[in-house]
């Protein structure tokens, strides 16, 4: 399937930001994921055409980075950090609880929800921590992990907002979250406005500190 005109415009704008168009491969791979839900072979071919390299060169890049998912993830990707600081604070129990509640072992997806372990996500002061579509929850317990899975399954939210997640399922944070975040993720890839992957639900939350 070919890309929408809007996505192609965005690709052109991204390419123009770099002295060499090859540098746009990484942002374009995210565009390809947004277009198809995950990184398809066709998506990689399209990125190759747009950046003037071979599909094999694009594939070499795509396979190096863990956030380029070459299998369908579903709507939600839960990444539980199991690196040292989170491990010390009980991350393995959080991952196990989420795997069991979801019925999805780490590294797999049931078409709606994917679960994985992540290497250090930079939330060590709020350990244990996890990401939902790369939006952060700090200080999560195994019980809250179970609630998170139910909330995703039953509520089927269109947008994943980090403040909302933290309020509902989080605890201790690495530092004060005083500034409210309006943007959120719309799929299993990072929510970043230049990529067209961020949604804004503005006033859904009260201002002030989350958690």
């Amino acid at each position: 399937m070919s890309w929408s005109a809007e996505t192609l415009d965005r690709a052109t704008a991204l390419i123009s930001k770099y002295p060499d168009k090859r540098s746009a491969i990484m942002p374009l791979l995210y565009l390809a994921m947004k277009e198809d839900g995950y990184l398809t072979d066709e998506g990689m071919v399209r990125v190759a055409e747009l950046t003037g390299v071979t599909p094999a060169q694009v594939q070499a890049v795509a396979t190096f980075y863990v956030m380029y998912k070459r299998e369908p993830q579903g709507r939600y990707l839960i990444s539980v950090c199991t690196s040292i600081s989170c491990f010390l604070m009980g991350a393995d129990e959080v991952l196990e609880a989420i795997e069991q509640a979801a019925g999805v072992p780490a590294g797999e997806s049931d078409g709606e929800l994917a679960v994985e372990h992540a290497e250090c996500i930079g939330a060590c002061g709020g350990a244990p921590a996890c990401l939902v579509n790369y939006e952060l929850i700090e200080g999560i317990t195994p019980e809250q992990g179970v609630e998170l899975v139910a909330w995703l399954r039953n509520g089927n939210p269109d947008m994943i907002n980090t403040d909302e997640l933290q309020t509902l399922f989080g605890g201790r944070t690495s530092f004060d979250w005083a500034i409210r975040e309006d943007n959120g993720a719309i799929g299993p890839y990072p929510a970043f406005p230049p990529l067209g992957t961020a949604a804004d639900n503005g006033s859904a939350l009260e201002p002030g500190r989350a958690s």
Binding site: Y68, G122, P207
Partner: protein, 436 residues
């Protein structure tokens, strides 16, 4: 306690990310001052200040700048790929005070006669990236970036680039490959020193987020002021990310020269449940561990850490209490490096995986009597003699970093490691047993 990079965000907890708040507090005045100075003057001020790179290498920023080759165009790359386990300081700086970073970028760009800068932020940090992107757009809107910034004749473009999940991209030459749209594999130094052959083989300065964040304050208040903050040879302040079994984990901006006891027990509130302190990692997952019997009253400085056989690194302090299974902790650290090895160099690619398999075997109750020797032997193959600073058999320091946890385990907790082997329930097994 003196605050440099976290002072503004402390004073404005709800709106420190906004352009208006930053400018009302005198923001961008230092960038304006920088535009009226020459490259030599700016490099000299930063050299004089004693500022050292906060990404972990702790090398003089002014010296690094002075090495920049004369060819142009040249580039400035801000390393916001913060991925060293235990480190979460740059996330706070990016999220809470993005204009401080942009002002630092302007200063570093002017000092190095660079007209194009990239801010590389790890893919798992979309919220910090959104904040920085918004700040960059606001800076363009107010004429702080773009053509003829602040009414000067100086052009400067800044692009925020998102990573995609690879620890190794924090290594500066790997980051440059990544920014070129390639696999994030480190380059060989020499010949590929970024200052001479960096982004697109052109002269490039790569500086960490916290390093850049210090610049507005140094230009504003001067090198002498920055030097006067600390009584030790390491000038200024640094952000310590304290995590693990302490009562109050968090980022603390501290002055070099206080002791580990002060940081862990006074500032971070001591050990959870008033447990005993067993060990801590002083500078991120790559650093050899410290233990209370030997190191608790050592001053926290670059030189003191080095003399004690470890490093201050990225400032990540990971604290373990007496309930910690240190074999499991070592395995978790080694597993990280095994997963994140880029695979270019055999000692790292193979060695880290073998170390992890041996540690997993010990944990699963299937350890062998030779396992401690084997751990030492494989470690020696990655980093000859387990010396400090490590001898390198690889292109970058990732491999030797993986050895730190194993070395610490064997040095400080040998009996505990031996107990794991002695308690082995099943022998023999194939050496790959229990591997992930």
């Amino acid at each position: 306690m003196t605050r440099v990079v976290t002072g503004f965000m402390e004073q404005h907890p709800a709106d420190s990310h906004l352009y208006e708040t930053y400018v009302a507090a005198g923001g961008y005045d230092a960038a304006r001052m920088a535009l009226s100075k020459t490259r030599d003057e700016l490099v000299e001020i930063v050299k004089e200040s004693g500022l050292i790179g906060r990404g972990g290498a702790l090398f003089s920023t002014g010296m690094k700048w002075s090495f920049l080759a004369p060819a142009r165009p040249a580039y400035l790359v801000v390393n916001g790929d913060e991925s060293e386990p235990g480190t979460f300081k740059d996330r706070q700086l990016l999220e809470r005070d993005p204009h401080q970073l942009i002002e630092g970028v302007i200063i570093a760009a002017v000092a190095n006669e660079v007209h194009e800068a990239f801010i590389y932020i790890r893919g798992e940090y979309p919220k910090p990236a959104r904040r920085v992107q918004q700040a960059v757009e606001d800076a363009y809107r107010h004429g702080l970036l773009g053509k003829g910034i602040m009414g000067s004749g100086y052009d400067l473009d800044v692009t925020v680039h998102l990573g995609a999940g690879a620890y190794i991209c924090g290594e500066e030459t790997a980051l440059l490959n990544s920014l070129e749209g390639k696999r994030g594999e480190p380059r060989l130094k020499p010949p590929y020193f970024p200052a001479a052959k960096g982004l697109y083989m052109l002269p490039t300065i790569v500086n960490n987020v916290e390093t850049i964040a210090n610049l507005p304050h140094i230009i504003d208040k001067g090198a002498d002021w920055y030097r006067s903050i600390s009584q030790s040879a390491d000038t200024g302040t640094f952000l310590a990310s304290v995590s693990g079994h302490v009562k109050k984990p968090g980022n603390y901006e501290i002055v070099h020269g206080i002791t580990w006891r002060e940081l862990i027990f006074d500032i971070a509130g001591g050990i959870r449940d008033d447990n005993q302190l067993k060990a801590w990692i002083p500078g991120g997952a790559s650093a050899p561990w410290f233990v209370p019997e030997l190191h608790l009253d050592d001053p926290i400085t670059k030189d003191d850490c080095a003399a004690a056989g470890s490093m201050l690194g990225s400032g990540a302090v990971i604290v373990m209490d007496h309930t910690t299974n240190v074999v499991a902790a070592a395995e978790r650290l080694v597993r990280f490096f095994a997963e994140e090895s880029c695979g270019q160099c055999t000692p790292c690619r193979e060695g880290t995986t073998w170390l992890d398999m041996i540690l997993q075997r010990m944990l699963s109750g299937a350890g062998r009597s030779v396992d401690l020797e084997l751990l030492h032997d494989v470690s020696d193959g990655i980093s000859v003699g387990l010396a400090w600073p490590p001898k390198q058999t690889t292109i970058c320091p990732l491999g030797p970093s993986a050895v730190s946890a194993v070395k610490s385990l064997l040095e400080h907790f040998r009996e505990e490691a031996e107990a794991h082997v002695a308690a082995a329930r099943q022998v023999p097994v194939s050496i790959g047993e229990g591997a992930a």
